[in-house]
């Protein structure tokens, strides 16, 4: 601590250089934070998947429906603990821009399958009582102004009603929150029994199944056993872990993780060069002062520590400010993009990784000038000064 004033003063001895270097580092870390949020937006579902959950879809394609009658056979498979189903509804509220995911589900099975959906008990009871009841995620409710008791029409779904009405109408009976920061709170869920009875076609079909297994270590084996049940049937199935399913879904857009890593690596490499150049210049300019410190009794490792401390401090201050800026930017960008990327936040792991990278950038940038300072021959350096 007692060396901090010296380190601080040395950082700011050339203010313009320090500010520009700091700004470069801040911008790099802000970009890193923003990219991490993009990555989380695309892979957030992957990270939040349950290790004990499988997803079963039609072997041909996710958009092919599966018979509701599979439910019993899935449940009877050894190792299966619970089963829930959902179907893509694909409508919108009032205008196409007001788009969010809607799913007909079996309330009890679904809520028990996804404990991360937090719905108050009285609202759950209301949902079970009202066949036209629907629960909506907090984010969508706030965005579109849905309140409990509202009658909400959803139009534009490929699922037509058999009574010929264009819009499906639901009663908002509950608003759910997410148990974790990245839990999707944009969905709108309503009862499958009402949906199945009212739709014009596709009765007895569901979009996909989510299955909970009793032993996550046997997930692959159980998935194989489930698929074996439906081999050579008109609707063969493909069961995978929820994580693999979500990853496959995210990969349809591209390997966002790899793209983000590549860009971040390039940015950090450039920042490392900037910081290293700043440190090298700064040390070169004060060879005489370093020799004076050594003359006064600052040992080789103290001198190394001072130079590393400067680099470390510069990188860490830049990193912290950059991540703080990222937090602000993510909030702003998230609001603009929330319809397309409902899960858009700066993950805490990205903050930790960012701080570790900042420390590493500091250490690497400072190590060469630090070692040069350690080895500086005092008498020769004083003569040069």
């Amino acid at each position: 601590m007692k060396y901090l004033p010296l380190i601080w003063k040395n950082i700011w001895r050339k203010k313009a250089r320090a500010i520009f270097t700091l700004l470069s580092i801040v911008m790099a870390f802000a970009l890193f934070g923003l990219l991490s949020a993009v990555r989380a937006a695309f892979s957030g579902g992957v990270e939040l998947t349950g290790a004990d959950r499988l997803v079963m879809v039609h072997k041909v394609s996710l958009i092919q429906p599966l018979p509701f009658s599979y439910m019993g056979r899935i449940r009877a498979t050894p190792g299966v603990e619970a089963v829930a189903h959902a179907t893509w509804f694909g409508g919108y509220y009032q205008k196409p821009e007001n788009f969010f995911g809607q799913f007909p589900v079996d309330p009890e099975n679904y809520l028990s399958m996804f404990p991360e959906i937090l719905l108050p008990e009285d609202q759950k009871r209301a949902w079970l009582k009202d066949r036209e009841g629907a629960v909506v995620g907090r984010r969508t409710a706030e965005q579109l102004g849905f309140k409990i008791g509202d009658r909400v029409p959803i139009s534009g779904s490929p699922w037509r009603r058999k009574d010929g009405k264009e819009a499906w109408e639901f009663n908002v009976v509950g608003i759910y929150d997410g148990a974790e920061k990245g839990t999707d709170t944009t969905a709108f869920m309503f009862r499958y029994d009402y949906f199945d009875e009212a739709r014009a076609r596709g009765k007895g079909l569901v979009g996909w199944y989510t299955i909970r297994v009793d032993d996550p270590d046997r997930a692959a084996e159980i998935a194989q056993a489930i698929d074996a049940n439906f081999q050579n049937s008109p609707a063969e199935t493909k069961t995978s872990t929820e994580k693999a399913f979500a990853q496959g879904w995210a990969n349809q857009i591209g390997n966002i993780g790899a793209i983000v890593e590549a860009i971040s690596a390039a940015v950090f490499f450039i920042i490392l060069l900037v910081a290293a150049n700043t440190m090298a210049q700064s040390v070169r300019e004060r060879v005489n002062e370093i020799a004076v410190l050594k003359t006064l009794g600052f040992g080789p490792f103290k001198v190394l520590g001072l130079v590393l401390g400067e680099a470390f401090f510069l990188a860490l201050v830049g990193g912290v400010l950059g991540l703080m800026l990222a937090q602000v930017l993510v909030g702003g960008v998230g609001k603009v993009l929330e319809r397309f990327l409902p899960i858009f936040y700066l993950p805490s792991e990205a903050v930790t990784t960012g701080l570790v990278i900042a420390a590493l950038v500091g250490a690497i940038a400072g190590i060469v000038p630090g070692i040069q300072s350690m080895r500086l021959p005092i008498a020769a350096a004083l003569r040069r000064g």
């Binding site: 004033p5 001895r13 006064l296 080789p300 008498a379």
Partner: protein, 230 residues
């Protein structure tokens, strides 16, 4: 014992390599400096006087020979041990003052104390005593650029004495000062020697400065020419 040698230089050689050429600067030098002495080293440039000062201060190592300060063979110490030894036993005063421009006078003088385990309040107390000894109690918060040359050198002297070292090594301490400021600095060094018992070794080109010393040694081409009491 007042005349006990605090520095013993025995058969010391020092050579520098300049490209392919080896330059012999000191050749078999022998010297004893008693505790409490004010010694002036004189001689033309390149004669070896600053080299000897650097060797006694542990800033450089002899090519051959032994250097003993306060009974300790400093030529045998590792770099880290030598640094710690310098911090405890030697104060340096430079011709160009060599204050850190980014630190105030107070912070510059505090630098050697950062290497001790003293708490901040005690460091501050000692810094103030050192600065008052050199007559700069009113310049604590001034940066080197806000001080005159003579004042800068006095801050340099305060930095050199703040740890109460055994030896004060001064390399041309008045070389960059006008006569008046130079005289003030010399008076200060004389007082530190006479009133505080500091052993001072001073390299100088200036006969006027050397007059303040109790003994003057003349160097020429790496060899001690004349040992004269001032």
């Amino acid at each position: 014992m007042a005349n006990e040698p605090v520095v013993r230089v025995r058969d010391v050689y020092k050579a520098f390599r300049r490209g392919a050429e080896v330059v012999e600067v000191l050749m078999g030098l022998n010297l004893e400096i008693p505790r409490g002495e004010f010694l002036a080293l004189m001689g033309p440039s390149g004669s070896g006087k600053s080299t000897l000062l650097n060797l006694i201060g542990g800033l450089d190592r002899p090519t051959r020979g032994a250097i003993e300060v306060g009974g300790q063979r400093i030529d045998r110490l590792s770099d880290a041990d030598l640094s710690a030894w310098r911090a405890r036993h030697v104060g340096f005063v430079f011709q160009m003052y060599n204050l850190l421009p980014v630190l105030t006078a107070e912070r510059n003088v505090e630098l050697p104390l950062l290497l001790t385990k003293l708490p901040r309040s005690e460091r501050k107390r000692r810094v103030r005593i050192a600065l008052s000894l050199v007559g700069l109690s009113d310049r604590l918060k001034h940066y080197p650029r806000q001080l005159s040359g003579g004042q800068e050198q006095r801050v340099g002297i305060a930095r050199a004495i703040v740890t109460d070292p055994t030896l004060l090594l001064c390399d041309e301490p008045t070389g960059d000062l006008d006569r008046k400021s130079g005289d003030e600095v010399l008076a200060l060094l004389t007082s530190l020697n006479r009133d505080h018992g500091k052993t001072i070794i001073m390299v100088t080109h200036d006969p006027h400065a050397a007059e303040r010393a109790s003994r003057v040694l003349h160097f020429d081409k790496g060899v001690l020419q004349l040992d004269s009491a001032a």
